[in-house]
C-alpha cells in the first residue's frame, strides 16, 4: 500500500522539487524562512499562503472527481460566498464585532453548502450529467454574485474578517492553518472512516455500488455539498485578503486550476481511486509555477504559454502509457534500459 502511494506521488513530487530547484537557481534566498514580528516570512510560506484557496477548492474537487463527477461551479461559489459575507459585514453597525462577522461567515458558508447540495441533487437524483448540472451554477452563480453586490465591488473594513485571508496565528498565516484543518478533517473522514472506500466504489462502478447496498445518492449529494463548502471557505479567504468582494472576477477560472491540480495529483477523471496528498502536491505545483514565472522573469505576454508548456510536461510525466512508450523506445537503443522498463510496467499496473 505504501509502495503504491510512493509510486503515485513520485512524479508530482519530482516536478515540484524541480520547480523549487529552478527557483533557487534564480533567487538564491528562495528557500530561506525568517521570523519577523513573530510571523514567519519567506517565499515558501507565500506559495502555500497564496495557494491556500486553490488547495481548498482542489480538495473538494478531488472527492467530486472520485465519484466520477466534476464540479464546474466552484468559481462562482467562491464569488458568491465572498460577496455575501462582505455584504453582511458592510451592513453591520460595528464591522469589528466578532459575533457579526461570524454570523456573516456562517451565512455565506450555508449558502455555499446549499448550492453544492443543489448540484448534488441534480446529479444524483435527477440524473443530469455532472458537467451540465454544475454548468448551471457556474453561469447563473456569477449573476447571483453580481446581484448580491449590486454590480459594485463591496469593500469592508473589518479586522476579524481580515484575519481569515490576511492574518496570522501561531506565527503562521491563518489561511494555511485553515487549509491544514480542512485537509486533516477530509483525510480523517475518507481514510480513517470508510467514506473514502465508499466514494471510490461509487466512482469505480456506480451500478455495482448500488447493488452492494451503498447509498450512493445521499453520498453524492454530500460530496458536492462538501466541495461547495471548500469553495465557500476559499471565497472567504480571497475576499478577506483584499477586504472586498468582486462578483465578476473573484475565483475566475479557479475550477480549471482545481481540476488540473487533481489530475496532476494522479486522480483519474474517470473516477475511482483518489489521492488527497497528490491533489495538494498538484495545487502546490500550480502555485509554485505562478511564483516561478514572476521570479524567473518570464515576459508577461508569454506567461500563459510558459505555464501551458510546464503543465503539458507534468501531465505527460504522469501518464503511464506515455512513460511506457518513451522508455520502451529508449530501451531498444540502450543496454541499461531493461530494468527501467520493468519498473515502468510495475508503475502502470
Amino acid at each position: 500500500m505504501t509502495a503504491l502511494a510512493r509510486h503515485r506521488l513520485l512524479w508530482p513530487g519530482a516536478v515540484l522539487a524541480l520547480l523549487l530547484l529552478a527557483n533557487v537557481a534564480f533567487t538564491p534566498g528562495f528557500l530561506s524562512i525568517e521570523m519577523k514580528d513573530g510571523h514567519l516570512y519567506g517565499s515558501l510560506i507565500d506559495i502555500v499562503r497564496f495557494g491556500a484557496p486553490l488547495i481548498l477548492v482542489a480538495i473538494g474537487m478531488t472527492l467530486v472527481i472520485a465519484t466520477g463527477g466534476i464540479d464546474l461551479s466552484v468559481g462562482s461559489v467562491v464569488a458568491i460566498s465572498g460577496a455575501l459575507a462582505c455584504l453582511r459585514i458592510s451592513e453591520l453597525p460595528d464591522q469589528d464585532g466578532v459575533g457579526g462577522v461570524l454570523a456573516a461567515v456562517g451565512l455565506a458558508l450555508a449558502l455555499a453548502v446549499a448550492l453544492g447540495a443543489w448540484n448534488g441533487f441534480l446529479v444524483a437524483a435527477v440524473g443530469i450529467q455532472p458537467i451540465i448540472a454544475t454548468l448551471i451554477i457556474m453561469v447563473a452563480g456569477r449573476g447571483l454574485a453580481q446581484l448580491i453586490t449590486d454590480g459594485q465591488i463591496i469593500t469592508v473594513n473589518s479586522d476579524p474578517y481580515k484575519l481569515i485571508g490576511g492574518g496570522y496565528w501561531l506565527t503562521l498565516p491563518f489561511g494555511i492553518l485553515i487549509v491544514l484543518a480542512v485537509l486533516a478533517a477530509t483525510a480523517f473522514l475518507t481514510r480513517r472512516l470508510a467514506l473514502g472506500l465508499l466514494i471510490e466504489s461509487i466512482g469505480g462502478n456506480a451500478t455495482a455500488s448500488r447493488l452492494a447496498g451503498i447509498r450512493s445518492r445521499g453520498l453524492t449529494v454530500a460530496v458536492y455539498a462538501f466541495c461547495a463548502l471548500c469553495a465557500g471557505i476559499a471565497g472567504l479567504m480571497i475576499s478577506s485578503n483584499v477586504s472586498s468582494a468582486d462578483g465578476n472576477n473573484a475565483g475566475l477560472w479557479i475550477e480549471l486550476d482545481a481540476i488540473l491540480a487533481v489530475v496532476i495529483g494522479g486522480t483519474s477523471l474517470m473516477g475511482g481511486r483518489f489521492s488527497l496528498a497528490g491533489t495538494v502536491l498538484g495545487a502546490l505545483i500550480i502555485q509554485t509555477l505562478t511564483t516561478t514565472i514572476y521570479s524567473v522573469g518570464v515576459p508577461p505576454e508569454t506567461t500563459l504559454l510558459f505555464k501551458a508548456l510546464v503543465v503539458t510536461a507534468v501531465c505527460l510525466a504522469q501518464s503511464p502509457s506515455f512513460r511506457e512508450k518513451a522508455f520502451r523506445r529508449r530501451g531498444r537503443r540502450g543496454p541499461a534500459a531493461p530494468a527501467a522498463t520493468d519498473e515502468k510496467v510495475e508503475v502502470a499496473a
Binding site: L189, A194, R210, L211, G213, G272
Partner: protein, 503 residues
Amino acid sequence: MAAPAPILRMSGISKQFPGVQALDGVDFRLLPGEVHALMGENGAGKSTLIKVLTGVHDIDAGRIELDGAPVAFASPLQAQQAGISTVYQEVNLCPNLSVAENIFIGREPRRLGRIRWKQMRRRAAELLARLDLRIDVSAPLSSYSLAIQQMVAIARAVDISARVLILDEPTSSLDAGEVRQLFRVMRRLKEEGIAILFVSHFLDQIYEISDRMTILRNGALVGEYLTGELGQVELVGKMIGRELADLEKLDGKPPARVSGPLVEAEGLGRARAIEPFTLTIRQGEVVGLAGLLGSGRTELARLLFGADHATTGSLRIGGEPVTLRTPRAAMNRGVAFCSENRRTEGLIGDLTVRENIILALQAKRGWHRPIPRRTQDELVAKYIAALNIRPGDPDQLVRNLSGGNQQKVLLARWLILEPRLLVLDEPTRGIDVGAKAEIQRLVAELSDGGMAVLFVSAELEEVLRLSHRVGVLRDRRLVAELPNDDGLTTGVLMETIASGGRA
C-alpha cells in the same frame, strides 16, 4: 488421413508478465478447414496465446509461422491484414451504425470519393447470405440480437481476411438456438477451408463443433488431441490436472433440511419485466430457476433483492410483509444477490480484493463505522482460504483476477454478511471447471447449513444437480414448479420449457 500442411504453426512460445510466466514453451498448430478448440482453466494461458498471436503482446521466445513464413505482428491490425481475425465475446462493433456500415467501416466501396451506398448494402447482404443470414442490412446493428451481431462481426472478419478466424468465447451469452445458428455458420466457413480457433467453457459445445483440441494448463502445453479420441472426463482431468473426484462428490446431494418458509412472493411482478409469480423459498432449500435466455430469470431474481421495484403483488420475508425499494432494504432483511454481470454490476475493478470483499458489510455499517483493519484482514483471509481465491493476495486489484476468482470474491462479499437468502444469478457462467465445481459444492454446503439459495443458471444439468425444487420460466412467466425427485431430468425440464408447463 493425410493431414494438410498447417496454416499456422507456433512453436516454443514463451511470455512473461511481471510475476507470472503466462506461457512457457507452448506449441500450437492450426490446420486449414478445421475447428480447433483451445482448452484450459481460467488463467491457463488461452487468452495470452491468442493475444501474442494477434499482436496485442509480443513474445519473449518462440516463433510464429503463417503459411510457412515466420511472422511477428506488432498490432491486431497487422495480424488482420495477414489473414488472422479475432471475434471477441463482447462484440467490437458500433451498435449505432447499420449492419452494412459495420461490415464495411473503414473500407467502404467508393467512387470519386463518394461512398456507394447501394453497392455496399448489396455486398453486405451477399456476404451475410453466404452465412445463411438474411436480414435487413440497413437497420442499425443494435436492433439485432447479440447472436446476429456476433455473426455480423464474423462476416466482417471473414470478408477482410479469410484464412484464420479466432472466436474467443463467442457462445457465453447466446441461447441454445443462437448457438446452433452460430455453429451452422462455423461449419460453412470450415467447408470453405478457413481455420477456426474456438474458445469456450461449454464442454458439450466443444464436442459438438471441434475436430481437434489443444489443452493448456498453467501456461504450459498439456497436449493436442483429436476430439473424437478424448473423453469428457479425461479432458477435464487434463485441464485441471487432477481427478474429477471434486465433481463426482456432489452426486450424492443431501436431502433438504428445510424448515419454515423464508421468502413468500405472492403475485409479485413488474410490468414489462416479469409477469406476477407466486414462489415460496424455505430455509435450507435450494430453488433453481431454469429457462431460456430472456425468459425472465434475472428479472425475477432482481425483484427479490429490490434491485428493481415490483409493480404488483406482495412479498414476505421471514413472515413479515416488506416492500423492497432498494437493494439496501433487502440486505437488511438478509437477502444477498450476486449479479450475472460480474464486471458491470458486481465488482469494482479498481479496488483491491480486500476492499471488494468488505464492501457490502461496510455499506451496511455506514461510512461512519469503519471495520477495524484487523477485523478486515481476518475476514478477508478467512474467505480467501475458504473459497480458495487465487492469487491469495488481498491487496491485488480485482481487475487482475481471472473470471472464476472474481466470482469467488463476489461470493465472499455476500457470505460475510451471513445472509438468509442468497440469490445467485449465473454464478458459474464463463468460469472454468475447477472453480465451477468449487462454487457448486459451496452452494450445497451453504444450504446444508440452513441458508436458502435461489440458483439461476442456463445449464440445466447444474440446476438439476443442486436444486431441491426447480422453477421453470418461459416468456417472462413462471410456468411451473417441479420438485427435484428421481423423475426430473433435463429432458423433462426442456419439455416443460418448450411446452410452457401446459403438458
